[in-house]
């Protein structure tokens, strides 16, 4: 079956699967952001923990994605077959780019600016909220952008553990030896990644303070 006929005959299914994929990605990203940004702020204030936190996040990044999904299945509470396990794995993947950029953004600020802030009587929290975070925002967003694109790609593999999403078509296509079916998963996934990348790039540019 060629791709065109598959798209025309299965349009509704492709659309709903794309939404399912998007849901996986957004859930994982929301959780990853909620963990990585506060953690980044924390390690800026406790530099001793920096190496450990970044190290652990890097280790997750190095595990092949299919293996990570597999490893999680037997783990109680977060594991098993289905969406929950997939989200956990995706969160682990997304942590590093966000955490690293948060840290780099918060520490890469002109020392003269930070010195002035402190010398003028700002408390450490005021320095964080009013100076460091606003100035780091575009760098942090760049991390979120990278993580989003990675997550959209890796989420296709989540279908292997029954989490659904566009990977369903890809695995089905591989089994059927059908390029058309593979493309039904691959093309929407690629489009999602491109659109997300473009939109976040726009936001990032608006937030940049030169």
């Amino acid at each position: 079956m060629n791709a065109y006929t598959f798209f025309t005959t299965h349009g509704a299914e492709i659309f709903s699967t794309t939404l399912e994929h998007l849901e996986l990605v957004l859930t994982a990203m929301a959780i990853a952001v909620a963990i990585a940004i506060p953690l980044g702020i924390f390690i800026v204030q406790h530099p001793a923990l920096r190496t450990v936190a970044l190290g652990i996040a890097s280790v997750f990044q190095t595990i092949p994605s299919l293996a990570l999904f597999g490893f999680l299945i037997p783990i109680p509470f977060i594991g098993g077959i289905g969406k929950r396990t997939a989200v956990v794995a995706l969160v682990l993947y997304a942590l590093l780019p966000i955490l690293r950029n948060t840290y780099v953004g918060l520490t890469g600020i002109d020392p003269a600016v930070l010195e002035a802030a402190t010398a003028m009587g700002m408390t450490p929290w005021q320095v964080m909220w009013r100076v460091r975070l606003p100035l780091a925002l575009s760098v942090i967003l760049a991390g979120i952008r990278t993580a989003t694109v990675i997550t959209i790609g890796v989420a296709t593999i989540a279908a292997a553990i029954g989490a659904g999403g566009l990977g369903t078509f890809i695995f089905r296509g591989v089994a059927m030896v059908s390029d058309g079916v593979i493309l039904a998963g691959a093309i929407p996934a690629a489009l999602l990644a491109l659109i997300a990348d473009g939109l976040l790039a726009l936001v990032e540019r608006r937030l940049r303070v030169s």
Partner: protein, 321 residues
């Protein structure tokens, strides 16, 4: 110029004691200082070994030995004085300055501001009451000029109308009235204008004390001279107590009511500008001699100019004057 006489010490900053090491400060608020000090380009800052010495009674050098940064310093600064701390890189002048607003804490001895040890002050309150100007101004790039100036008043929760009025007043004061500078961002200003905003920001909450760390050091010579003159006039008018760090003797002579020369963390001379140049200490002579060298440089430039005039381009042997 007769040296001015000052009122008795209503506000006084005193350094008393025999030996000062300096604590790497204990609060996270000082992170930026540590970072700044450990950047290689800030060669004149306190050496890096200070940066990890939190809580240790004396600053230690890389080999672990104690190193005294400020020693045998007893300095009283009276209300309305402009004291210039002069010295080479690493002589301890910036350390001394930072002790005043508790960016650094003394490990021995005492630093008193208005009769109270800085360590007894609430650090944030103390700092908000002391204006601070640094090289390159350190303006907040994400704040407009107005927001930069408004920083301390905002922290002190002034009402909006009062802050707005104060911003206009200060822009006038530093020569940035007229055009609408208030809405601009620092990146839209020249170096000299940024430094003017830096001064305005430091003066915002009308502090009695102003600390300035080589504020004009990064400016081109013409702009620097302009700002030095204007600031000198402003300082006289405002009557603030000013502590000013520089390694430029000319600047010191222009602005100071008293010059304090530091060498290896010790005060080696304390004189009025008039008396300073007569002082016999070798370090004073060293500084005075570069004044001569700078004169030579000026003369060389003058000679080059006259040489160009004598031999105009393409004029061959033509006599033009």
């Amino acid at each position: 110029m007769p040296s001015p006489t000052f009122a008795p010490t209503k506000i006084s900053i005193e350094f008393r004691g025999v030996t000062y090491g300096v604590n790497g400060t204990t609060s996270r608020a000082e992170d930026p200082v540590r970072q700044r000090e450990s950047t290689p380009e800030n060669g004149s800052r306190i050496p890096e070994h200070l940066t990890h010495s939190g809580g240790v009674p004396e600053a230690r050098n890389a080999a672990g030995g104690a190193r005294v940064l400020i020693a045998d310093v007893s300095l009283e600064i009276l209300c309305g004085e402009t004291v210039v701390l002069l010295g080479r890189s690493g002589s301890g002048k910036t350390t001394l300055l930072r002790l005043i607003n508790r960016m650094l804490e003394p490990t021995a001895g005492k630093v008193l501001v208005e009769g109270r040890a800085t360590t007894e002050w609430d650090a944030f309150k103390l700092r908000r009451g002391i204006g601070y100007v640094i090289q390159e101004a350190g303006l907040f790039p994400h704040f407009t000029v107005a927001e930069n100036i408004a920083l301390v008043p905002t922290l002190e929760k002034w009402n909006a109308a009062r802050i707005a009025a104060r911003i206009q007043e200060l822009l006038q004061l530093v020569g940035l009235g007229g055009q609408d500078f208030a809405a601009r961002y620092p990146r839209q200003l020249s170096g000299g204008q940024r430094q003017r905003v830096g001064v305005a920001r430091a003066l915002a909450a009308d502090p009695q004390i102003l600390l300035m760390d080589e504020p004009f050091g990064a400016l081109d010579p013409v702009t620097r001279a302009e700002l030095q003159r204007e600031f000198g006039a402003l300082a006289k008018r405002l009557g603030k107590t000013i502590v000013f760090v520089t390694h430029d003797l000319r600047e010191a002579l222009l602005l100071a009511t008293r010059i304090v020369l530091l060498e290896h963390g010790k005060i080696v001379a304390q004189e009025t500008p008039e008396a300073f140049l007569q002082h016999a200490h070798p370090e004073v002579r060293a500084f005075a001699s570069c004044l001569d060298t700078e004169d030579d440089a000026t003369e060389t430039a003058a000679w080059e100019t006259s040489a160009r005039e004598e031999f105009p381009r393409g004029a061959g042997g033509a006599k033009s004057a």
